[in-house]
């Protein structure tokens, strides 16, 4: 038995200039009273603004079966697609978003959990080290990827996208797992050197470009296969991370365009290349 602090944030009205809200994390909220929470600031352009200007706050404690006192659960009851950096660098607790989230959701996240009913903007889970992001809809570009210019991306944790992802999914990824139930666009797993990416439907092109480690499995069709990969046999019902995927898969090793002895693997359902 433990006390969980619950905070409900309800957007007051439409947000004009996007706000930067790296302060909306269970870590920042922990141990704060309702009035202290109202004073937490976010940036809107050059202005530092208290959270209460954009959200109505409601705070209560709940007794739950989980362990660990003082866990914070943030419930965002509405659309926050114009709010960036929610859950950035969070290490524990939980954020539930009933609508869609803006850019950089859970970027550099190290632990805890984020659930989004709607979509998430670009850069969700950027440089993520641990924890879990679950997006009911689609994610934008660069989900689970390295920051622009960097070649060291997501190193741990899980991202589950029930819809589609766009380009550069898992770029520079070195650990952890990304599952996209829908399709992805270009350069999924670019410069990947570890971890697993599973794509439920199709990919456009550039899958695994410049990868030297880790695995990518695409269950649908890859429209334009990446040169620099060589066929390396087939696999039946492979186990990917913790899940078994049914079917016969063609296996490819690469990217030989970038390294002499690359350890990257692409699995594609036979007949789909």
């Amino acid at each position: 038995m433990a006390l969980t602090r619950k905070v409900r944030l309800t957007p007051r009205s439409e947000i004009g200039i996007m706000i930067e809200a790296e302060s909306i994390t269970p870590d920042t909220f922990a141990g704060k009273s309702e009035s202290e929470l109202c004073e937490i600031t976010v940036w809107q352009g050059p202005r530092k603004v208290p959270l209460a200007e954009f959200f109505d706050l409601e705070v209560w404690d709940e007794v739950g079966p989980e362990e660990g006192d003082g866990t914070v659960e943030i419930l965002i009851d509405g659309d926050v697609s114009r709010v960036k950096r929610i859950g950035q660098r969070m290490t524990k607790g939980k954020i539930v978003i009933m609508g869609s989230a803006g850019m950089h959701l859970g970027s550099e996240m190290a632990g805890g959990e984020i659930l989004v009913r709607g979509n998430a903007g670009p850069w969700a889970g950027m440089n993520m080290r641990g924890g879990r992001i679950d997006v009911g809809g689609d994610v934008g570009d660069h989900a689970g990827s390295a920051y622009r210019g960097s070649w060291r991306g997501m190193s741990g944790g899980n991202i589950l996208v029930h819809g589609n992802a766009r380009s550069q999914l898992g770029g520079g990824m070195s650990g952890g797992e990304i599952v996209v139930e829908g399709s992805v666009e270009n350069f999924c797993g670019i410069r990947q050197n570890g971890g697993l990416i599973l794509v439920g439907k199709d990919a456009v092109r550039g899958v695994g470009a410049e990868m030297i480690g880790g695995s990518i499995a695409v269950l649908g069709k890859i429209h334009q296969f990446t040169p620099g990969f060589v066929a390396s046999g087939t696999e039946r019902d492979p186990v990917l991370g913790e899940r078994k995927v049914e079917g016969v898969f063609a296996k490819f090793a690469g990217d030989y365009a970038i390294a002499k002895n690359p350890k990257g693997t692409i699995l594609v359902k036979e007949g789909m290349v």
Partner: protein, 589 residues
């Protein structure tokens, strides 16, 4: 401007032979004075420096802080900026970047450490406008830039034909044209070959088309430099940089200039100092660490510093800066394009971003991100070499402390480098954390020397200023010197070198930085943004000679992509320009 008294500090002023004496420093109208009248004293700002260390403002004689390659680094590395952000204040700009900070952040960060003067060590002539634009926007610091001339078509032709006087006339014209301060020579004869995918690997290998050798270029430029009487000697980035075993060619390269004697002929007023404030060297070796490699391959790679230091100890015409490796992220950037390609290949993983540029008739350039890891055997040895090069040279007046920012590491790591120089315990602690090759393949583990505050003052201001010909006003606290002072929270009476964390924090955040008699930093925070100057040289040469030389320049100017009229840097690119007249035609010191 009001007067100032810095009272009761322990003053370290090597050019005036002052070693920690408790005394007062007086400043009036931005200049150090012997004392103040009682009327001035009444109005003077008083700074209590009791129990603190007082030094002249820091002088960095070798850093890469302005111009095209620095900006290429900034553009190439957004990831360098995300974690290193400085918010604006009422008087300062915001800024970002760790290894390649924005110009504003650079100025503030240097100033926070007590530095007041920084020289950009490699300005390609065609990129001079860009370099001056960035220097114009750099706050807090007096600056100047060395012109890259070691692979210049006009000079290679003159030097090969032995037309040394015309070469001097050309250099004089180039200094004025680009508002440059000194001669930088990068991988002489080799960078030109790189335009054809080749390099040179010895001093006597003629390069393609020009048939000139590195030996001819080094000797010729050193001679030209002293004929003109430039403030700084030739600044040399020797051949084979970054190759195992290059200590040998570095020694040979330095020996090339041994028959050239130094001769500064500057039209400036020299303030009186106890130690001669004229430079003694005819060649100033850049980033010795990168040029003091031993072994024959990366497998038997080891330090070659002992050998090179032995040579430097023996001769009187050489000053070196070390180009220390303090570990961590760096951005390697140099006019030595092929060395960047070598590093790209060495880094192993293909696809690493890098860039290379050919600068038309003049030089080249390359940029690559690089991280020095304590666990890497090569990095550990480079760390050791960087420190050996300063600790094994007996006379501190032959050495200057740098990181060759941002090549060996960032300038904000200077306090860490100082700690290693001052504290054997600090070195042992780091050696224990890094790959065992650090101590096993160098002599550093056997070095007992711990530098004093006096020696640190030589390596970080007095000798840096003297070597580059700025000691007529910088690097000391004698009457007439610029009122640039750094005060650090170190009590020499209670100083304990084993407490190296204290050294790092004290040199990282100056208690006060004073620029031209104005407090600009307090406890590491910028409190005022002063006016700053840009130095360059105006050498005078025989007019007839200059006319002949110009005919040659015009003949080949058609090979440039720009028109002749657009070549020079207009005055408006400089903020508070301070030309130094250099009297090449008259001779005599």
């Amino acid at each position: 401007m009001p007067s100032m008294v810095i009272m009761n500090g322990h003053v370290f002023d090597p050019l005036n032979g002052i070693d920690g004496e408790v005394m007062d420093v007086f400043i009036k109208d931005g200049k150090v004075v012997k004392d103040l009248s009682s009327a001035d004293l009444k109005r003077a700002e008083v700074i209590d420096a009791r129990g603190k260390t007082v030094m002249p403002g820091g002088v960095d004689s070798h850093a890469h802080v302005a111009g095209a390659k620095v900006n290429a680094g900034r553009l190439m590395r957004p990831e360098d900026h995300i974690g290193s952000v400085r918010p604006r204040t009422d008087i300062t700009h915001s800024g970002s970047g760790y290894t390649v900070p924005s110009v504003y952040k650079q100025g503030y960060d240097y100033s926070a450490m007590g530095y007041t003067t920084v020289f950009e060590a490699a300005m390609p002539p065609l990129e001079a406008r860009h370099t001056h634009e960035e220097m114009r926007s750099t706050p807090m610091l007096d600056m100047g830039a060395y012109l890259v001339l070691g692979n210049n078509w006009f000079l290679m032709r003159y030097l090969h034909q032995g037309e040394i006087e015309k070469a001097a006339a050309y250099v004089a014209w180039m200094m004025k044209t680009h508002k440059a301060y000194g001669i930088k020579c990068v991988n002489p004869a080799g960078v030109e070959n790189w335009g054809w995918g080749k390099n040179v690997h010895s001093l006597d290998e003629p390069n393609i088309h020009f048939e000139v050798t590195a030996r001819e270029v080094i000797h010729g430029l050193a001679e030209v430099n002293e004929m003109l009487g430039m403030p700084i000697s030739l600044h040399l980035h020797a051949n084979n940089l970054g190759h195992p075993g290059n200590a040998e060619i570095t020694k040979e390269s330095l020996a090339v200039a041994s028959d050239v004697s130094s001769s500064q002929k500057m039209g400036v007023e020299w303030t009186e100092t106890k130690v001669d404030s004229h430079r003694a060297q005819s060649v100033y070796l850049a980033h010795a660490q990168f040029n003091a490699f031993g072994g024959t391959s990366w497998r038997d790679f080891k330090s070659g510093a002992e050998d090179l230091a032995k040579y430097v100890n023996k001769v009187d015409h050489v000053v070196i800066d070390n180009g220390a490796v303090p570990f961590g992220p760096a951005t390697c950037m140099t006019g030595d394009g092929p060395s960047i390609h070598d590093l790209y290949v060495l880094a192993g993983i293909g696809g690493q971003k890098w860039s290379n540029t050919d600068v038309e008739l003049e030089c080249g350039s390359g940029v690559i991100p690089f991280t020095y890891l304590k666990g890497s055997p090569i990095s550990a040895i480079q760390w050791a070499i960087g420190l050996e090069m300063l600790l094994l040279v007996d006379d501190p007046w032959k050495t200057i402390m740098t990181t060759d920012h941002p090549n060996g590491g960032v300038f904000t790591k200077y306090p860490q480098v100082i700690a290693w120089l001052m504290s054997r315990r600090a070195r042992d602690a780091t050696a224990a954390e890094c790959h065992k090759w650090g101590y096993d393949r160098s002599s550093l583990g056997g070095v007992e020397r711990e530098m004093s505050l006096f020696e640190i003052a030589i390596l970080t201001r007095a000798n840096a200023a003297r070597t580059i010909g700025m000691a007529h006003r910088k690097g000391h606290l004698g009457a007439g010197a610029d009122g640039d002072v750094a005060i650090y929270d170190i009590d020499p009476e209670r100083f304990n070198p084993d407490d190296y964390e204290k050294i790092i924090s004290a040199f990282g955040k100056a208690a006060y930085t004073i620029k031209d008699g104005q407090v600009v930093v307090r406890q590491g925070e910028v409190v005022a943004v002063p006016e700053v100057r840009r130095y360059y040289c105006e050498p005078k040469v025989d007019e007839g000679l200059a006319k002949d030389m110009m005919a040659d320049v015009r003949e080949w100017f058609k090979y440039y992509t720009i028109g002749f009229a657009n070549y020079p840097v207009p005055d408006k690119y400089l903020r508070n320009p301070e030309p130094i007249v250099v009297n090449g035609a008259e001779g005599g010191c």
